[in-house]
Amino acid sequence: MQNLLVGFYSMDYRNLIMFIIAGILIYLAVKKDYEPMLLLPIGFGAILVNLPLAAVLSYEGEPGVLQILFNAGILTELFPVLIFVAIGAMVDFTPLFKNPVMIFFGAAAQFGIFATVLVALFLGQLFPNLHIDLKVASAIGIIGAADGPTSIFVAARFARDLLGPISVAAYSYMALVPIIQPPVIKAMTTRNERLIRMEYHEAKVSKTVKITFPILVTIVSGIVAPISVPLVGLLMFGNLIRESGVLERLSNAAQNELANLVTLLLGITIGSTMTADKFLQPATLLILAMGLVAFIFDTAGGVLFAKFLNLFLKDKINPMIGAAGISAFPMSARVVQRMCSKEDPTNFILMQAISANVSGQLGSIIAGGLVLAIVPLLIGG
């Protein structure tokens, strides 16, 4: 009889809390349209692993379906890397080729990653029982990449147990960019700065440039930070498929079938890491808070860099452009244009913002690669 009721006996209040959290994620996905492709599978995955006995993780000593997916797709880093192929096939670098100077905002807006690592380390010293070492702090800081696959890739290497909360924070805050960025931008700029107009020069870009760029970027990145090749290389492979013009079917497959299938599996597998014992910890709250801090620092870093450049430039840059240097594409560029239109409906800086936003996609994976390269040196690993 007891065996029949094992499901009831195995439940405790922590499972119920996880059901509520999963419900919130599904609600945000369905009702608020916040990154539904990821938050919905993550939410449902969290329900599955918090059911009694968690048969999707293991049953009678054998790994369950979600454990098999985790071992095959996350531990091997296969899923995030495949997502990069899909993203590469979706990214059009043309706006960047037309405004190459905007590439620097893609670097400045990565400030949040490193500032958050530092804040997390400070908190780790203040609260030693949180057990935040450099690896954990780096995995938390990488939420500031505003780039889900990069966050997952780094977290899978540095803080596997925290993969669930880090992924949830990364995707949630990406969806919340329209809410997080405007107050930060407003606090850091004057109205006159937000009214700055920027000239846009339409330039044509040859197909040869578009084809050569991903190849050369891969080679340069591979030489500077060899560990970043799985990220940059696969992103650029996807982009080369797109730009070659001779692989339309593969490009479409990468943008649609591959992206959809891997996103589906990635989401539910990430959800499978959200077991109550791993998720309901003080570290989760810290990660959620630090994720927000990272996005704020990213935005501030980009805006301040633009203001710094304006000290030397004759043709001033609208400093809001700096905030679009994060990887959350195209939300961030849209946020900047919306704020710009609010101040002056005849001012258009969308193309420049898009250029900065595309640069952010490059900057975030370079930053991820550098974190992966530098941290082992610092810890002697």
Binding site: L96, F97, P100, V101, I103, F104, G106, A107, A108, Q110, F111, I113, F114, A115, V117, L118, L121, F122, G124, Q125, D133, L134, A137, S138, A203, K204, V205, S206, T208, V209, T212, F213, L216, V217, V220, S221, V224, A225, S359, L362, G363, I366, A367, L370, V371, I374, V375, L377, L378, I379, G380
Partner: protein
């Protein structure tokens, strides 16, 4: 050199990561900037009259 790095406190390591990380991202993107400049100069878009007709 690496022995010195591992002997630092966590906070010092954090500052090191920040300095080298930010500088590294800027350096790589500066290289990409000049790469784009070079590529667009070497391979300019030529108007193709056949396409226009």
């Amino acid at each position: 050199m690496f022995e010195n790095l591992t002997a630092m406190t966590n906070i010092q390591k954090g500052f090191f990561l920040m300095g080298v990380g930010i500088a590294g991202v800027f350096l790589v993107l500066i290289v990409f900037f000049f790469l784009i400049k070079l590529l667009t100069k070497v391979f300019p878009e030529k108007d193709n009259p056949q396409e226009e007709t």
